[in-house]
């Protein structure tokens, strides 16, 4: 009886290795500094992870579809700069600036999606190219200047980054809501199954009549939509932006998605696991900061922990700490 219970518990653990790793980190950091688990700190971490997290939700679709999106970092800079600039433009104001920015960011996603979906170009090359191209576009648009909201007390724009409802910060609510919607879209709808099919076996999917090009196109549109949402939160949180605000985030986003267990080869991964991946990254950074480690050391430790987490995940899936086949 107890044996079966242990076995089924083992089975659960094997499927949720990354969740186990997450719980271990949380306990470890709390023992180190009890303030880590303080409710304000937890909300603080989830709130600042929300920007990365929202981006990671979109990239999860792209990765499961068998592609990469390295352009999300510069796309974030673009959307933050654009929404702030239009906010300051009397012809737009906040109410029009937000939809206009979403439309412009979705256009960039459409370019990615068209090149990779319909023209079947390599996603690594296309999005690497777009990383620089969008950065250039942002600089051209802003003339290299920082964007700031001049009268911060005269606008409701700060609600997306700084507001809260029912005691929960709005960025956290946006992240949770988007995760729920996209989680259902991925797991419970025909579209979601097509994304897995295309990422799992492109050729087989095409022969089964799945419109591969359209599915890939849509994954990039979802990614762009998520980036636009993240850009909105970012801009609202700081009420200003530099041209480089998203620089380097593409790799952090990818790390969170892979950490969650999505395969770089496509065809596997879930939204829930990506959320866990995002939270692990956020809590590691925060935990090391609270531990008062020197920055250079933090950098090393962060990535050691990430590699350990991936190992733990793989090890629980295999049921062994190392692979029997070298």
């Amino acid at each position: 009886m107890a044996d079966t219970a242990m076995k089924s518990l083992g089975g659960v653990l094997a499927r949720q290795g990354i969740l186990v790793a997450f719980i271990l980190f949380m306990v470890g950091f709390t023992l180190w500094n009890p303030r880590f688990i303080d409710i304000d700190n937890v909300f603080g971490v989830v709130r600042s992870s929300a920007i990365l997290g929202v981006m990671a939700l979109g990239v999860t679709f792209v990765v499961i579809g068998g592609n990469l999106d390295l352009s999300v970092g510069s796309m974030l800079s673009f959307s933050a700069i654009v929404v702030l600039d239009l906010h300051e433009n009397p012809a737009f104001g906040p109410a029009l600036a937000i939809p206009a920015m979403f439309a412009m960011t979705l256009c960039l996603g459409a370019i990615n999606g068209f090149l990779i979906g319909y023209l079947r170009l390599n996603s690594l090359i296309v999005t690497l190219g777009m990383l620089s191209a969008i950065h250039g576009l942002t600089l051209t648009y802003s003339g290299g200047q920082n964007m700031d909201i001049a009268n911060q007390n005269d606008t409701w724009f700060d609600v997306f980054g700084r507001g809260s409802a029912l005691g929960i910060p709005i960025p956290v609510l946006i992240f949770a809501l988007l995760a729920a919607i996209l989680g259902i879209l991925l797991a419970k709808t025909p579209f979601g199954r097509r994304v897995y099919a295309v990422g799992g076996n492109d050729t087989a999917a095409t022969f089964s009549g799945i419109p591969r090009a359209r599915v890939v196109f849509m994954t990039y549109m979802i990614s762009a939509f998520c980036v636009a949402t993240a850009g909105l939160i970012q801009a609202s949180r700081t009420m200003g932006a530099q041209n480089t605000v998203g620089q380097g985030m593409e790799l952090e986003v990818l790390a969170a998605v892979i950490l969650g267990g999505a395969s770089l080869l496509g065809g596997s991964g879930t939204i829930f696991k990506t959320v866990i991946g995002v939270l692990i990254l956020g809590f590691i950074q925060n935990g090391l900061l609270l531990a008062g480690l020197e920055f250079y050391v933090q950098f090393v430790v962060t990535w050691i922990i990430i590699i350990l987490a991936v190992w733990l995940d793989i090890a629980t899936k295999r049921g062994k700490l190392w692979s029997p086949i070298a």
Binding site: D38, G44, S48, I51, G143, Q234, T238, G240, N286, L290
Partner: protein, 319 residues
């Protein structure tokens, strides 16, 4: 005759010849910048540099931008040597990696002026002058601003502060922190610097670091940030936590956002560093070198203290 005397003699002779030429025709000065457009400071710098050159009919400028890429900057330095410019101004992308290219310029007899951020000491012998801000003094002045404010408030014997530094490994970040950390115990020996973490010149990063500080420490009286952009990030975090009133915010490189926050009474002080002064100083240094004047090796332009008390003497920064 020592090597350096020979050298200066040779240089002087070359300069007299150049100076003679300059009187008859215009001089050409080439500049290769670090990464225009990456921030407002560098963008404003470039505009001011071009404007200053246009006002002087005897000066032709070749304006290049390395885009943050050290390989491209080295190629640009070599191009400027090929174009036989009369003097060269370099805003180094990397203080160490550009040294071989600077040596080539030196060997080609082209005087090199480094602007804004200096190159590593190994390269000093190939450089005529460094024109830029004195970051150690800036850090020291920020410490004085902080200390003076604490003294006014009567908490100079118990105040606890945190520091948010710039990008790790970046000379400006290191020097400002060094100046601050050296000067603070001299003026306010009982103020405790409890922790330093980098904000990477990024407002969002700085805000995240400050949030962690606010969780970790119940008592923070002051925050020193390596520039105002990060300082405003820290201020945002404190405002969100409802603790901004009890904290003195001091920064450096006064940005427009910092200036505005000072005007609102939320941010205490900073260091006024104008990219226009920076650009004009670099051009003037190059012209002085070409005119054969005795230019000091460290040709700093002044970066005064700015606080809520004296801010009316300064224009709102353009970046």
């Amino acid at each position: 005759m020592t090597y350096s005397t020979k050298l200066s003699l040779a240089c002087t002779t070359a300069l007299i010849a150049l100076g003679g030429a300059a009187a008859a025709q215009s001089v050409t000065i080439g500049i290769t910048q670090n990464n225009v457009g990456v921030d407002s400071y560098q963008t404003t710098y470039e505009q001011a540099f071009i404007a200053a050159a246009e006002q002087n009919p005897d000066v032709e400028v070749v304006v290049l931008d390395a885009g943050g890429d050290v390989a491209r900057q080295i190629a640009q330095i070599q191009d400027l040597i090929q174009q036989e410019v009369d003097a060269m101004i370099i805003w180094p992308t990397n203080g160490q990696a550009v040294i071989p290219a600077v040596r080539e310029a030196y060997q080609a007899g082209i005087p090199v002026i480094i602007t804004n951020s200096n190159i590593a000491e190994d390269g000093f012998e190939f450089v005529r002058s460094f024109s830029g801000p004195d970051n150690i003094t800036q850090g020291a002045r920020s410490a004085e601003i902080m200390c003076e404010r604490f003294t006014e408030m009567g908490i100079q014997d118990e105040a606890r502060i945190v520091q948010i530094t710039g990008q790790p490994g970046y000379t400006t970040a290191i020097e400002r922190a060094e100046g601050f950390e050296q000067r603070l115990p001299e003026v306010c020996p009982n103020v405790t610097l409890v922790e330093s973490q980098p904000g990477n010149w990024n407002r969002e990063d700085s805000q995240r670091v400050m949030e962690a500080f606010l969780v970790q420490y119940d008592d923070i009286d002051g925050v020193y940030s390596g520039d105002d952009n990060m300082g405003v990030g820290a201020l945002n975090a404190a405002l969100a936590a409802g603790r901004a009133d009890e904290i003195v915010f001091v920064g450096a490189t006064n940005f427009a956002v910092g200036y505005d926050a000072m005007e609102r009474g939320e941010y205490w002080g900073s260091i006024y560093q104008s990219p226009v002064d920076d650009a004009e100083a670099a051009l003037q240094t190059a012209l002085d070198v070409l005119a054969g004047e005795d230019v000091p090796f460290f040709n700093y332009f002044d970066t005064p203290k700015i606080t809520q008390d004296n801010m009316s003497e300064f224009d709102r920064p353009v970046f």
